[in-house]
Symmetry: D2
Subunit: 205 residues, 4 copies
Amino acid sequence: LIRTYEPNLVQYPLIGIDDDEFQTFKKLITKQEVRAVTLSKLQLQDDLVMWDIGAGSCSVSIEASNLMPNGRIFAVERNPQSVGFIHENLKKFCTRNVKLVEALAPDGLDELPDPDRVFIGGAGGHLEEIIDAIDKRLRPDGLIVLNAVTLDTLAKAVEFLEDHGYTVEATCVNISKTRRLTEYKMFEAQNPVYIITAGKGKGLE
Amino acid sequence: LIRTYEPNLVQYPLIGIDDDEFQTFKKLITKQEVRAVTLSKLQLQDDLVMWDIGAGSCSVSIEASNLMPNGRIFAVERNPQSVGFIHENLKKFCTRNVKLVEALAPDGLDELPDPDRVFIGGAGGHLEEIIDAIDKRLRPDGLIVLNAVTLDTLAKAVEFLEDHGYTVEATCVNISKTRRLTEYKMFEAQNPVYIITAGKGKGLE
Amino acid sequence: LIRTYEPNLVQYPLIGIDDDEFQTFKKLITKQEVRAVTLSKLQLQDDLVMWDIGAGSCSVSIEASNLMPNGRIFAVERNPQSVGFIHENLKKFCTRNVKLVEALAPDGLDELPDPDRVFIGGAGGHLEEIIDAIDKRLRPDGLIVLNAVTLDTLAKAVEFLEDHGYTVEATCVNISKTRRLTEYKMFEAQNPVYIITAGKGKGLE
Amino acid sequence: LIRTYEPNLVQYPLIGIDDDEFQTFKKLITKQEVRAVTLSKLQLQDDLVMWDIGAGSCSVSIEASNLMPNGRIFAVERNPQSVGFIHENLKKFCTRNVKLVEALAPDGLDELPDPDRVFIGGAGGHLEEIIDAIDKRLRPDGLIVLNAVTLDTLAKAVEFLEDHGYTVEATCVNISKTRRLTEYKMFEAQNPVYIITAGKGKGLE
């Protein structure tokens, strides 16, 4: 039996993949709408190098890969269950240019090529070390995007990034939506996510 | 081989282009964050046919074009000032597969190929006729996405779409963000936008 | 005369009573923050007559009673379980000027004095009849405040009220808050509530 | 000429006074909806002592006074223009138990009676000193409520309060509303306000 390569674009959109299509650990995922805003903040261009730190389900890397077929994306994640789900998700969505790095950042970053873009979805308690490590490696005009759901992470990330000389913008995304196929359209809220964008180049001035 | 124009990807991201980069009529534009969510709701795949009705500055079409280099996008807009800005924007971002249709929809739709995706950014008071016209032409598994900023449009769009047999989801997007380079990071709110997604196929069930 | 129980103001605030202090049916309650905005929209003055239609746990009436010790408040509710909880709540908070009317509105309204203020927390599928009934009885400069959590109720309420000649304002309240005594302060969102305020008098012009 | 006492309740509600009714400096005011939530977080009971630090237009104190006719409220404000507006507002709303203290806090607090409640609407760059001063004077089961519109104030206030042993809750209030008497009901957003509530007593556990 020969199974030729099944292109994913027949079935899945480039961005906006339904959350339920991803295998996730404890339903932790950057949700569809926040993922889209995150990708827009990442200012992706084809052929960039991107690090995805605390990749979780890898949903951001998978959609970033669809935008950057010639990019090189490195998903750093250590949780064994998440790692298993990442393998399944990369296969399901036929993602070819995301490389999984099984490590707890900042471990594992040394071997990677210098990044143009870094997305931090989770810092596993090592936020300052991670920002230190990124700062030494980020290319000129590079960007760091970090999603925070707690006040603690929001405040610390902004502080660390500004201490390292970054210009920082924080965007709070509040989404509520109705469920399909219910008789009454009740707006159900998602918890707010704070998307922090940081850079040193002119793009953020 | 002489290549005359500079490829846009050197300068601009695929999605998330800064709002200020677009020429706009009365600053009316689908803002960066809402544009990203809108694109994710459009469930774009390369090579689709998309109509952009009430295109305004054409910002949604321009980023959709970056996602669908083999797609065919038709931007329908009649306001003469917007039309002038669209020409400038398409040129600036080197957008090659967006065709401008100078008309007040539903006028101008007859000559277009059947759409897989329709984005309605503005209906110019003809919402019901536009939905009628789309419904006759939308391909199987096609999707309609409409952005509403008034309760009137939100309520009518949902009513018309459901009357035509569509399954409808409404997503309210509330964005607030800090400005860069200010001493204090004050969150400034954008007005909420209601993104309505409608389809008849299995994708929305 | 022996007065046995302790007055409530020793223990409870006038407004802002913790949600958990109320007995509720299926946790349905106008939450603390939305209750406060609702009371502010009701524009209460001491000695007014207020109807609370679909009173639920009676939380809005109980706090309104604290603001209007000389007011007369009529809480209309038919659900037997809610009725039981209302009795308990009125007793717990020592509320003296809220009268419970066990009926499904518009039933039960005929015997009540004409209202200066009407709060509609739930319409039980009879929204149009209820607005009809209120409109015949509302005093000059009276106000109707209605809380909607579904698009259907929001749209219909605005339509019915405008058809009856009311000036209408809709306020969307989005609340997210951190939990006390957790290590990390994560903002958790409440579903948005649309507070509709309607009047015919000069107050809303 | 005899001017008998003109009761304010004939004209104005207890809470929810329209923002435009207040004289304000640079339109700075705690807006109607946020004021209501702030008052609910203050957990007011009649006869309490409340400090209002950085009183601005005094709108919070004026409505608190309507809730606590037997309370004693001290509005601390130094900006001369605000002070002028406070005098006008206190007169307009016939507020009898708000005493204006012309000082830049923590100056001026020493002479005041110990507070049961403190509202901080503005700290004028002295947040840490103000919290220090309050902490020495706040009565058992007292509460501090602080409204922040910048990330800096939000983060610092939470940090200082927790360092002083307080249990802290942060509530983010996002309001959008339609304007009355417009043809289309467009939701216009207010900037989000973070209401911080802090106490040491059992009320916040």
